[in-house]
Symmetry: C2
Subunit: 238 residues, 2 copies
DNA sequence: TGCCGACTGGAACGTTGTTCCAGCAGTCCC
DNA sequence: GGGACTGCTGGAACAACGTTCCAGTCGGCA
């Protein structure tokens, strides 16, 4: 059967960079950042660890490719016909949702040795920057504004990733869900020393009922407000 | 000599949690996050790996303690007699400087399994929150404002840590310093595809001459401006 | 003096990223 | 058609890691 020119596959389908990266993302999603092992990956691909190194130079490149595979689709959107503010919001939310769905991105991003200018986040920076320009921010302040937005996005993403993982670890241990985890943290906050942690105790209730996503957009709006308010010279001093 | 009650030390000075943590910080500072090894640590303390486990439950606790040892001193400052804005700025700068001096903090923070409410950053959150209250932000928006500030701080810290490490890696490889590294990145940015990276190319020059610290404070000021501008309801929509 | 618990440090275990290399399937050239 | 050559495979092996284990040593107390 089908011997005409070439059997389409050698065993199942040939190993390829894309197949490897896809399997890595799957593994990261199901088992977490600690579960991505060259051996586990090899087993899932029905091969040995050595074969993977023919397509990928090492674990760092693999992680970077996995992040790219997860972030890139969120940048496909179209910005035309919206205000810059809306474009930035939806861009930020795209990254937020991607990292929320794949928490390992948040944790992994920080410790990847970034080759100059090839970070997976450069494209996000570019997209943000264009909208900052569209906001008519003076040239000298554009870099600051775009950097602040990106830093905030990555900061929240990192925090969220850590929280998600903590919640999952807690869930595995205590058989509870995310809401129960938030509840546990809120309760722990309420029991802190009233002198040392007055504020934290005050907002413990807000933690219990807060919505990460809405909170995140609110932060974006804070920065956007700051950017547009200080448009004259790019920064504000009281 | 000095046999009266107790020879003050058994061999040199007895192993202790503080001595271990101090040695860990030293090791992290000199060799980087990858250099902290129980074996290297044991060698530096003139003992074996097993002895360390008597004082410390594992690597995670050791890292958390190291972070705490580096961050805690920055929280010693006194806020009385300054405006809330200034207090927040100096607090944020303290954390920024600490992480800048010890880049491993930025990278390590993200991947520490955080036991609910015992993160080393909780105290920072508390200090920020008090100043947010002093800013007379309405109660419902206090959590958002403090979270946004902390996320931004951690985001910049993480970015900065990654950059510092990239610069150091580059320096080790090419025998250059940080300025040369920024120059290299700026040059790389300038050579990007003009269609795809219009904005990044535009701001490449600003990258070369930018000051991380000033940039960071400018971002803080952006958020502060947003907070005080939207004080009525805590958020702004155009 | 003899014992006991606090503490030490070296050996050993299991797992990781990475390297090495003998072998396979095709393709090209003679 | 048959050998060399290339692109690719996958299992074995290596060094290094975090962690555990345990035979010891020490100081203070009975």
């Amino acid at each position: 059967m089908a011997s005409r020119k070439s059997r389409p596959e050698r065993r199942q389908e040939p190993l390829s960079r894309e197949r490897i990266v896809a399997a890595a993302v799957e593994l990261l999603d199901t088992v977490g950042e600690g579960g991505l092992t060259f051996r586990a990956l090899a087993e899932r691909l029905a091969t040995g660890p050595g074969a993977i190194y023919w397509h990928v130079t090492g674990k760092n490149e693999l992680l970077a490719a996995a992040i790219d595979a997860v972030i890139a689709p969120t940048l496909a959107g179209d910005d035309t016909g919206t205000t810059p503010q809306e474009a930035i919001r939806s861009l930020a939310l795209g990254v937020f949702d991607a990292i929320d769905a794949h928490p390992w991105v948040g944790t992994t991003l920080a410790q990847l040795p970034r080759t100059p200018g090839k970070s997976p986040m450069l494209r996000v920076f570019e997209r943000i920057g264009r909208q900052v320009q569209a906001l008519r921010v003076p040239e000298a302040a554009q870099f600051t504004a775009a950097s602040a937005l990106l830093s905030y996005i990555l900061g929240v993403a990192g925090q969220n990733a850590a929280n998600t993982r903590a919640a999952q670890a807690n869930a595995d241990r205590a058989n509870t869900d995310r809401a129960a985890f938030l509840d546990a943290v809120a309760t722990a906050w309420r029991e802190l020393d009233p002198d040392q942690y007055r504020f934290t105790r005050d907002v413990a209730g807000q933690l219990r009922e807060h919505d990460d996503r809405a909170e995140f957009v609110a932060g974006i709006d804070l920065i956007l407000a700051g950017i547009t308010a200080g448009r004259a010279d790019g920064r504000t001093r009281p």
